[in-house]
Symmetry: C2
Subunit: 479 residues, 2 copies
């Protein structure tokens, strides 16, 4: 291997990023597909699960959770194996998805408080352009149904960020704790009244505490109604489920039904919800004109034992920059347009931003750095992903970088182990192709790869202007 290796060369050398390879997989590869050219703007649905792990779906290998609707969606569409979120915890991950930008740019990350809390005074800055705002310019109507967590004060709510409609919780369902046993005990047999979380419609609280037992069901019903009432114009539905974040709740029809216990019940209700959405799109004749993506905001919350999910063979989970924290299940579906395949190219939630805006006939803003790339070549089966790097931030610090199959860890730290960050110089180097579980450091064999990654980091830093931090401000302390 030569020492003057560029990013592109690194990727070519390793044989990654070859969409042609992925398409040769083809359970359904014989189906002849192309880009939609109906002249009608496509609809968009993003279903975002909370804290669901890489290994929690049947089609990602889970042995006891049954996800027939997601498995079918994967067989009819694209199942991505190397798809990333913008952060390993909730608030920054959601900011990345909705703005197409690393949270460090929008200021939606911090080193003291990792997410927004009920006493937070901050939220998504007005200057950020969300997918919903970008689509509004293209004539879309948008709804945010589910968990928001980008600021609960009025100016930060979905309806002030491009969404025409909002129904859901403004933050995580384990916040506003008001009763029940101490510590994690409250989660093992959770009751609605232990958490005083508000349920909102647009800018009003309509229920408090929210009856979390029926949240997945009610979100789904709201989503179905939004699709039904929006079908005559292009729409964007952002369905961000509160589940499967602890405390886990399910409606009566799912309680005790899965082989995986309460966690499995909750995943299976999410699977049901996805089935309902796709069925609605089919029934309304919208399936061929709607791009649907399913993914999760970050990895499984491992300290919650059997109430947390599984990252499968990936290392660690939520809260850290190992793969289990930031690589997610991702399924993309659009019958007749998204070419069915298993995709091994790199993708990220930020890319959904850019891809969706372009599919709608728009463009991402040009007055700022947008990290998302255009995944349409992969969706259409016409080329490979333009994404060649993944930046793994924890708070405001860059912990790791992936280029092609190689991932360099400059700093490591477990998600919730209470350990201090450990600096690595030279970085730990894992080959994620050969070693997806990040077990075998190959740094000493590949100084040239480390040098190439160092250059990428240098360039990244030279182009980086951190945004003003939004997560540390508190209502009480800084009124």
């Amino acid at each position: 291997m030569k020492s003057q290796m560029t990013r592109r060369e690194l990727i070519r050398w390793a044989g990654m990023g070859a969409a042609g390879f992925a398409f040769s997989h083809g359970l359904n590869a014989s189906r002849l597909l192309g880009a939609a050219q109906t002249g009608k703007k496509p609809n968009f649905v993003i279903v975002f699960a909370d804290d669901m792990g890489y290994g929690d779906l049947g089609c990602y290998g889970h042995p006891t959770i049954r996800t027939p609707n997601l498995d079918r969606m994967a067989a009819e569409g694209q199942r991505w194996t190397d798809f990333y979120v913008g952060a390993s915890v909730c608030t920054p991950s959601r900011a990345a998805l909705l703005t197409g930008r690393l949270p460090i740019r929008s200021g939606m990350c911090d080193d003291s408080r990792r997410v927004l809390f009920p006493d937070s005074a901050g939220g998504l800055p007005q200057g950020e352009v969300t997918i919903a705002e970008g689509l509004k310019e293209q004539g879309y109507t948008s709804a945010c149904i589910g968990k928001w967590h980008l600021g609960h004060l009025p100016q930060y709510l979905p309806t002030n960020n491009g969404f025409d409609y909002y129904f859901g919780l403004p933050y995580s369902n384990d916040m506003d704790r008001v009763g029940g046993p101490q510590g994690r005990e409250a989660f093992w047999n959770p009751k609605v009244e232990y958490w005083n979380v508000p349920l909102m419609r647009n800018e009003q609280i309509v229920e408090r505490p929210a009856d979390q037992n029926t949240l997945t069901k009610r979100y789904t019903e709201e989503a179905v109604r939004f699709i039904e009432r929006s079908k005559d114009r292009p729409f964007f539905l952002y369905l961000a489920h509160t589940m499967v974040h602890v405390p886990l709740f399910v409606s009566d029809g799912f309680r005790g039904k899965s082989s995986r216990g309460l966690y499995g019940d909750a995943v299976e209700e999410i699977d049901w919800s996805v089935g309902r959405i796709l069925e609605t799109l089919r029934r309304e004749g919208l399936a061929e004109n709607t791009f649907v993506v399913f993914t999760s905001d970050n990895g499984p919350w491992l300290p919650y034992d059997q109430h947390g999910g599984s990252a499968g063979l990936l290392r660690e989970g939520k809260g850290c920059t190992f793969e289990g924290g930031m690589r997610e299940p991702c399924i993309m579906w659009w019958p007749g347009t998204v070419r069915p395949a298993v995709i091994h190219d790199l993708g990220a939630t930020m890319d959904l931003y850019t891809t969706i805006l372009k599919l709608a006939g728009g463009e991402p803003p040009t007055d700022r750095v947008v990290d998302g790339v255009d995944l349409r070549p992969v969706l259409f089966g016409e080329g490979s992903s333009p994404r060649d790097a993944v930046f793994y931030y924890r708070g405001t610090k860059l912990y790791a970088v992936r280029i092609g199959p190689y991932k360099a860890h400059f700093i490591t730290q477990s998600g919730y182990g209470g350990d201090k960050p450990v600096q690595h110089d030279p970085p730990l180097l894992y080959h994620l192709g050969h070693d997806p579980s990040e077990k075998y450091d190959v740094a000493k064999d590949h100084p040239d790869v480390i040098a190439a990654i160092a250059k990428v980091v240098e360039q990244h830093r030279s182009e980086l202007t951190p945004g003003e931090g939004q997560l540390a401000r508190r209502i009480m302390k800084n009124p």
Copy 2:
């Protein structure tokens, strides 16, 4: 939960073993299928991989190994999530598959030597009735192609155990070490000449050392030729690949081609091989009359680092009685007869014995205990698996027992960690549905389950007559 719980009740209570549930999964469940009633005896093909882990196939969630042929086979057939081998190492596992009996009954296990070696004087006892012998009575022709490992002295070879034809290695490909670097070093860049293993045709050595680079390819070509020349009478093909046991070898067309390194190359060549077999069956018009099963002999050999596989989210690997050692990928295929589904019922290689003999119109022997059960109800989509227990032996000792979703560990020990066995009284108890990774001992919450399992163990022991040990005898020491 009542204390007088029977095995059946345990299973019903936990909602396991419900084939109806599995069939409702159905990517292809709408396809109306029934048992083959052509009047012609069906053919059988068992493809047995070596040391392949639960997590190593695309359809079991591996992110970088591409297995399009096996994934397609799974989509067209049944993918089993809870399928077991009879032992966590090679020789006893193969004995269990071919005799339908736990190795403790045939004597094909031992506590000092876990498998047969080139200096072994023992082998599969003449009194055992192999699948091939049982099928011979039904007019079948049979071939064993690949690794045998049930005795290399003439009287133990496949041709003296019911097979009309044999082509392959008599034991593991890492035996007869004659050169190369010390210890594991020889495996990192393996060369054919480091291992003086013989390649045999029927009872003759035809090549020594075997050119391991082309073994997968040559086994496949032999298998295809056997199918082509046997197509006018019922046949049984036992294709027991030498790969992906270390040292890893691949033919030129696969070397350096996978994203998973040499191990992935070897798995992808096995996948190619399966594709060739199914393609041959289709081309010869035999697909609708041939029952094909793919599985592996035991879990991944973890001490071999990146040259060993992955058990996915299961605990540990080859050599131990945690799930990673004995639960395997298993795909069953028979277009028009095996009803496509993901199957969560319990199954085992020993059940293939009983199921195949019955499908052929025969019966397992009645003069001995046969551990295999008849899986036809599951294959046909007409009922659930009759298997309600899994016995996890290590050598001659019963380490663990699974009943329904519960697994009790009486003894634990890592596969190759060098640790001593640890006794547990009460046993460790894991709920494999809630906790497939065996992390959370729930023994104290379920004394009744432990009591029920103790009864099962008591009954098992009362019916057990251990066979005379075959693995300790050596040619030199006991000539």
